[in-house]
């Protein structure tokens, strides 16, 4: 099917040619055939003529969880990818948050196969260690050859410093990308929220910022010794930004990400003990959120993630201590980030990061594969369950005021539209 986008304002700071210009875009067989001020639709062509239509290259999420296999009640790969497409994301990195975890090439192949035929492309992460148990390295090379883009024991701190050293050394000859979750588990103890004024008032066990910063410091020291390619996923404190900034100045090959909810909300939200706000790392303070946002716009934080983590209601509709960690993030990602940043910066950030995983950044030009997100950046609204596409409904953004909505995505010679 041919697609004709009418009068779409192009946001593409990377390619000055069309940036901020209104153009018609004709797509044939999944390829951008023409970009011009006015194109007439001829023959069998789907014309997309939406109010305040904006278009950018497809958005990228550096970490989502879908549950399948093992936690299909939370989310399946098929519906997870449909949710991603409806939320504007054409490429998502899949966290190894399944049961069993993907710790071998067979599991990686399964995930790749399960994701075929969708608008949104999926790139799985394998676990760093066998069973994600943090003890023995998994077959990283074999998984990489099967399509794993990184290695991560999902949200499990690596307690063994020597394992981090070995992993960073071992993965170098095949450019393996190693994650280390930033938390010292002994310092964190049984903490479940940020340690601070709010946790003190609520009697909830706190995780000191120290737990995160200590682990990051350790990992950066190890990286300085070993070399290799390290990623610190989902940092949450102001001091973490500083530690990584200093490391980058020293030339260390380290990247980091931040979850959008850690930019958008703080631990003040916990006042009512609502378990939708229970996430790992925890929501921190206003000054942390401010420093994280600055780190993101300055480029110290390499990219964002929705940290999309569906949880069925049985895991959430319980006492705060007993509730699972995690929030949905895909559906609210654009609306939340667009509240915090101007639209050009917002799109720049939503399209950053692919190269760190060895993936090509799409190009919005005649003759290139059409990998596009269609959106309206100006609409402000209250985010409700109606806007959720996920199987689970655990979004901490419910009832928040968000700005900007997604019309759809075009990728892999397919189209996903929200209406």
């Amino acid at each position: 099917m041919d697609i004709l986008l009418k009068s779409a304002k192009i946001i593409d700071a990377g390619n000055k040619e069309y940036h901020l210009k209104k153009r018609d875009i004709l797509i044939k067989n999944g390829v951008i055939e023409n970009i011009a001020p006015k194109i007439e639709g001829t023959g069998k062509v789907k014309i997309i003529d939406y109010k305040n239509l904006h278009v950018s290259i497809g958005w990228f999420d550096s970490g989502v969880s879908f549950g399948e296999p093992g936690y299909e009640e939370r989310e399946t790969i098929a519906n997870g990818l449909r949710t991603a497409a409806k939320s504007g994301f054409t490429d998502v990195i899949l966290n190894p948050n399944t049961n069993p975890v993907p710790d071998g090439s067979g599991a990686i192949v399964f995930l790749k196969n399960a994701a075929k035929g969708q608008v949104t492309s999926l790139y799985p992460i394998g676990t760093l260690t066998k069973g994600g148990a943090g003890e023995v390295l998994a077959e990283l090379y074999d998984m990489k050859n099967s399509g794993a883009v990184a290695f991560y024991d999902f949200k499990c701190p690596l307690k063994n410093s020597n394992l981090v050293k070995i992993a960073l050394q071992y993965a170098q000859n095949f450019d393996g990308f190693i994650y280390s979750f930033p938390q010292d588990s002994k310092i964190a103890g049984k903490g479940i929220v940020n340690e601070g004024v709010v946790s003190t008032r609520l009697g909830l066990k706190g995780i000191p910022a120290l737990a995160e910063e200590l682990q990051i410091s350790r990992d950066l020291f190890i990286l300085g010794y070993t070399g290799g390619k390290l990623h610190i996923p989902t940092i949450s404190t102001a001091n973490s930004v500083k530690l990584i900034s200093d490391a980058k100045k020293k030339g260390l090959n380290v990247s980091c990400s931040v979850a959008i909810h850690n930019l958008f909300l703080t631990d003040e939200a916990l006042e009512e003990y609502n378990s939708l706000f229970k996430v790992m790392p925890p929501l921190r303070t206003k000054s942390d959120a401010k420093a994280l946002l600055k780190g993101l716009t300055d480029g110290v934080i390499d990219f964002v993630t929705s940290d999309h983590n569906p949880m069925n209601i049985e895991q959430k509709h319980v006492e705060f201590d007993n509730a699972a960690f995690g929030t949905l993030g895909l559906e609210s990602a654009f609306g939340a980030l667009n509240q915090l940043l101007d639209i050009e910066k917002c799109i720049e950030i939503l399209t950053k990061g692919r190269e760190r995983y060895g993936l090509a950044t799409p190009i919005l030009k005649q003759g290139y594969k059409a990998c596009l997100t269609l959106f309206n950046p100006d609409k402000t609204y209250t985010f409700t369950e109606k806007q959720l596409f996920s199987t689970s409904k655990n979004s901490m953004f419910l009832e928040s005021t968000l700005k900007g909505s997604v019309y759809g995505t075009i990728n892999n010679n397919r189209i996903s539209l929200n209406d």
């Binding site: 340690e195 004024v197 003190t200 609520l202 009697g203 003990y273 509709h317 201590d321």
Partner: protein
């Protein structure tokens, strides 16, 4: 007639100063009642109360039950040990099952902070928090303030030190909220490992020298070392804790003034306080227990009148 500003008693932090005054005035009346030869009033003959305890308790449960019975309420008791909770039933299901039997009020103790608040949003009954994890134990704080008021005339302007494990203590947190609300000056005292790092954000002072703290205060509320809550070692031995934070008679006698000694119980004699301190005339520990019944009668009576 005045009434409480809240439908539930979930924590002191949800009350205002007038609420506390009203509870105290009501408790004055009930204290007089429980010292009569007929210790019972017919006020709550049409009310059924479930005491739901997901955590062990002896004195709090007894005190609530006695308070309820002296108000002539129908009372049922439920402990997690005997229940379907162990079979995997959720809190909301457990409580809704009990409420289906036409129960009007739930008194709940639960190991998780905020459990009462969570429950109050999802079930139709007045909830009284009888202790939720390390969050609050509001009736304890009310009876503590009531006992200070009884002994010293007023709570406002008094210097109160809370000694011991502040980190794991709902009694400490509720007492801090209650005392601050009534205009008392509050300090906490204990090893740094048992003081929350951000405790000063609640408007309290921190003192790690027990002698200095005792010299400063009018009232010392000695908390029990809750060994069952200490998942790691916060101090080397109980012996060493006592050397630094235990109160003995010689220490009290060495002070310039006669301070009041309180303890929420149960006491570890020889740990937080020695026997001669516990049994001295400066100690109001047993008055606290007696006042506990009057305070709980007042709270239940006032909340029940909002149901009606």
């Amino acid at each position: 007639m005045s009434e409480l500003s809240v439908k539930h008693l979930l924590g002191i932090k949800y009350l205002n100063k007038k609420d506390i005054q009203l509870i105290f005035e009501t408790a004055d009346h009930f204290k007089e009642v429980i010292n009569r030869s007929i210790k019972k009033v017919p006020s709550l003959r049409d009310i059924t109360i479930a005491n739901i305890f997901f955590e062990n308790s002896t004195r709090t449960k007894l005190s609530f039950e006695l308070a309820e019975k002296r108000l002539s309420a129908d009372v049922i008791n439920f402990s997690a040990g005997q229940s379907s909770v162990k079979k995997g039933e959720t809190l909301i299901d457990t409580v809704n099952n009990i409420l289906s039997m036409k129960v009007d009020m739930v008194v709940m103790r639960h190991p998780n902070p905020g459990a009462g608040i969570f429950l109050s949003k999802h079930v139709k009954a007045a909830i009284v928090n009888a202790g939720d994890g390390a969050h609050e134990h509001p009736t304890q704080a009310l009876l503590d303030s009531y006992s200070i008021r009884e002994r010293l005339g007023d709570v406002g302007g008094k210097n109160v030190v809370i000694v011991g494990d502040i980190l794991h203590s709902r009694v400490a947190l509720s007492n801090i909220f209650a005392l601050k609300l009534q205009g008392a000056n509050v300090k906490v005292c204990g090893p740094k490992t048992l003081l929350p790092k951000y405790i000063e954000s609640l408007g309290v002072g921190v003192e790690t020298d027990l002698r200095k703290a005792l010299n400063w205060c009018d009232v010392a509320n000695m908390l029990r070392i809750q060994n069952e809550r200490l998942d790691i070692s916060y101090f080397p031995t109980t012996r060493e804790y006592t050397q630094q934070f235990g109160v003995n008679k010689a220490m009290l006698d060495g002070l310039d003034k006669e301070i009041v000694i309180m303890h929420p119980g149960p006491i570890n004699r020889g740990v937080e306080i020695t026997s001669d301190v516990a049994d001295s005339k400066q100690s109001i520990i047993l008055n606290q227990v007696e006042n506990g019944v009057a305070i709980r009668m007042a709270v239940i009576y006032l909340l029940a009148s909002k149901i009606k």
